[in-house]
């Protein structure tokens, strides 16, 4: 919920989106008698798109080889065609994503075309940056270049050095964003102990497979949906029906994917409204995020420190007030009232600070609302707890005596 709230605070200029989604649900995935082959259809569509001079093209289709052969769309003929184009084209890999670089598209020679197209089904707040086997390099270096952070910790530098034998499969968003010339520079100036633009998880302990994740900005998703173009297939030709909101594809990143809600099983609830949309829109948001600047996550230690700091500020101010007025006035300081007022003030500051962080620094402090609620609870509960203690102090001994003793001993 907090994450979704944070997502609504991000600004999007819908007229200048760097990414365009093209629906390819009308293209055949398997050969049909009398029609163009699936590979020929895709090539014709790409020819049309390439003529409009996009920056790069990504195809959100699994080109991983099957057990015996390449898919009807894939294979050396298509991969050679893609490599011959003036614009870079990246091909999705799903089935073989945990394999070595030769497994991704069946042959080592095509490894540079392969990108990971998995959308994490269990946690839609994050999108992958890479999947790797072996040492972290070149994954860490790639992330450092793209996300604008320095390898400032010894662990990062050590990982970046030991890159021998690494298979690093970049995500679709990473490969495409790297090709965008006007990527906004968002150098991460904060120390990595406070904020981090990504984190890495071990996803297959047996094969030592790791995946890097980051938080995408999903705020442009609805604009991508509104501005989706489509491929139109006839028996011998494929054309592009450009969305009327778009002037062309020049300078854009084009993502081809199945956006037909009924036809694709690849759909997930997208933040902030958790409405199910096809996976290609997740990739579009991820590319957008990496172009506009990453969302930074506050580390666990920094979050704890911030929470403790806020609590300490309130406590110190109340204590200072008590001390300050103790010898100067006969009136008792209304500690609870002061506490409540201060807490309310801090809550306002926390909310404003959380909003400011997301909006202007792209730092995700999802704890802002949580901390506010905790402070409020603490303030109210504290008052009740003190009342309870006072009551126990006054009536406790009498109650105890009544429980333990029968009657007073007679004087002998």
């Amino acid at each position: 919920m907090l994450y979704c709230w944070v997502q609504t605070q991000l600004f999007v200029d819908e007229h200048k989106l760097p990414v365009v989604v093209v629906d390819i649900s009308s293209l055949d995935a398997d050969a049909r008698p009398g029609a163009l082959t699936p590979r020929a259809q895709l090539e014709k569509l790409i020819d049309v798109i390439v003529r409009q001079d996009p920056v790069a093209i990504g195809i959100d289709v699994d080109f991983s080889p099957l057990e015996k052969a390449w898919t009807p769309r894939g294979g050396p003929q298509f991969f050679d065609y893609v490599r011959s184009l003036p614009q870079p084209v990246y091909l999705g890999v799903h089935r073989s994503r945990y394999g070595g670089s030769a497994d991704w598209l069946g042959v080592e020679a095509y490894q540079n075309l392969a990108v990971n197209i998995v959308v994490p089904a269990d946690d839609n707040r994050e999108m992958p940056l890479w999947i790797r086997r072996g040492a972290s390099e070149p994954c860490i270096q790639m992330a450092a270049n793209l996300l604008g952070f320095r390898l400032d910790t010894e662990a990062h530098q050590k990982a970046a050095r030991g890159g021998e034998g690494t298979a690093c499969l970049p995500a679709m968003s990473v490969a495409l964003a790297q090709k965008y010339p006007d990527r906004e520079a968002h150098p991460v100036r904060w120390p990595s102990s406070l904020v981090r633009p990504f984190h890495e998880e071990l996803i297959d302990g047996q094969n030592r497979v790791y995946a890097g994740f980051f938080f995408p900005d999903y705020s442009p998703a609805r604009y991508f949906l509104e501005q989706t173009s489509s491929a139109v297939v006839s028996d011998s030709d494929v054309q592009l029906a450009l969305n009327p909101n778009l002037a062309g594809l020049k300078g854009k990143i084009v993502l081809l994917g199945n956006t037909s809600w009924e036809k694709t099983p690849d759909k997930y609830p997208i933040p902030p409204w958790q409405k199910e949309v096809p996976g290609v829109y997740f990739h579009a948001c991820a590319v957008y995020t990496l172009i506009k600047g990453p969302l930074l996550e506050i580390t666990g230690g920094a979050r704890l420190g911030l929470d403790l700091l806020l609590a300490a500020i309130i406590l110190l101010v109340v204590s200072w007030l008590r001390l300050h007025y103790s010898g100067r006035t006969h009136d008792e300081v209304a500690a609870h009232r002061v506490h409540l007022v201060l807490t309310s003030l801090v809550i306002l500051v926390v909310l404003a600070f959380g909003y400011w962080l997301v909006r202007f620094t792209r730092i995700l402090w999802t704890d802002a609302l949580l901390v506010s609620a905790a402070l409020l609870c603490h303030s109210l509960l504290g008052k009740q707890a003190e009342r309870g203690l006072n009551w126990a102090r006054v009536s406790g001994p009498g109650t105890w005596r009544r429980v333990v003793f029968d009657k007073r001993k007679e004087d002998k």
Partner: protein, 323 residues
């Protein structure tokens, strides 16, 4: 004296380094020229470009022909080409562009892994003294028969009118024909004897749970005798083989025959394997040197040296069959 010795040592070291570099270079070149796949089906007009020369691909001539990393292929309108790479199968569709054959990254992992891998390694085999019978297999180290498909085949020699045949079990007791010690007399000229009685005898024998070795005794009209020892595949093996052959059924073009021959050979049914290559040569690719090479090896395993020599004569000049 010591200085001279040091000079020699340095010279030898340099020579050693040079030779190992040359060896490595040669190895690199060999790998470059190594086949990474072969053509299994051709429809319409397709082209192969190797180096500066290009030629039309026909299944008749190029069926099973090896492709090297860096070769280029393409097909004209309505043409298509199926290529079995060491790692995967791919289809080349009609296009103006050439497709470069990539270097395979690893072996295949599907049911065709064995047949494809085996196609790249036509190995030689032991050559016995020339005999006339080649089914049951009589070359190499012997072989097995499939009772339901048992046929006796031989190379007819001039001057022989007839042959008498009988099959003995491992205790040299007559299995077929029963009650006829002289054996069945058959004319020499056809080179083939197809006996339902013999098949029934083998099936009956197999039901006892035994697998041989059995002996086919053949005596020609001049009194020359030759014995052929062979095994009978068990019912269990036969079931396994049938399921393996079933996987070959939908394979495209030449791959179907390559697949069948491979699995038949795995069960030592060399005569049947050679037949598969012969069928492929006859029906699909009579001019394919690669297919001829595999057929040559298969015939050598059956002991059909006459057919082996005939195929060797048809090979393009410079093509040497494995020994």
């Amino acid at each position: 004296m010591r200085g001279k010795l040091r000079s020699w040592t340095i010279l030898f070291s340099l020579l050693a380094v040079m030779f190992s570099s040359l060896a490595a270079f040669a190895q690199g070149n060999r790998e470059e020229a190594e086949d990474v796949g072969f053509i299994s089906r051709v429809i319409g007009t397709c082209w192969l470009q190797r180096g500066d020369s290009s030629e039309q691909i026909t299944l008749t001539r190029h069926g099973g022909a090896g492709l090297r990393a860096g070769d280029k292929v393409r097909c004209d309108k309505d043409g298509s080409l199926v290529i079995e790479l060491r790692s995967l199968r791919t289809t080349i569709e009609a296009s103006d562009r050439w497709t470069t054959i990539p270097r395979a990254s690893g072996p295949r992992s599907d049911a065709m892994a064995g047949p494809v891998d085996d196609w790249f390694k036509p190995a030689g085999s032991l050559r016995k003294m020339p005999r006339s019978v080649y089914s049951p297999p009589n070359g190499g180290y012997g072989g097995a028969v499939w009772p339901a498909r048992f046929v006796i085949r031989w190379t007819p020699h001039d001057g022989i009118q007839s042959l008498s045949m009988k099959i003995l079990d491992e205790s040299l007791i007559e299995l077929w024909p029963l009650g006829n010690e002289q054996g069945v007399s058959v004319p020499n000229a056809p080179g083939e004897f197809n006996s339902d009685d013999a098949r029934q005898a083998l099936l009956k024998y197999r039901k006892t749970g035994r697998g041989g070795p059995l002996t086919l005794v053949v005596v020609d009209s001049k009194g020359n005798e030759q014995d052929v020892q062979f095994l009978v595949i068990s019912e269990q093996d036969e079931d396994t083989l049938k399921s393996k052959l079933e996987t070959c059924r939908d394979e495209p073009g030449l791959m179907r025959y390559i697949c069948r021959a491979y699995f038949l050979r795995r069960f030592e049914l060399y005569a049947e394997a050679a037949e598969e290559y012969e069928t492929a040569l006859h029906e699909l690719a009579p001019g394919s040197a690669d297919l001829q090479l595999h057929a040559i090896v298969a015939h050598r395993l059956t002991g059909n040296y006459a057919r082996e020599r005939e195929l060797e004569r048809r090979l393009p000049s410079g093509t040497v069959p494995p020994q």
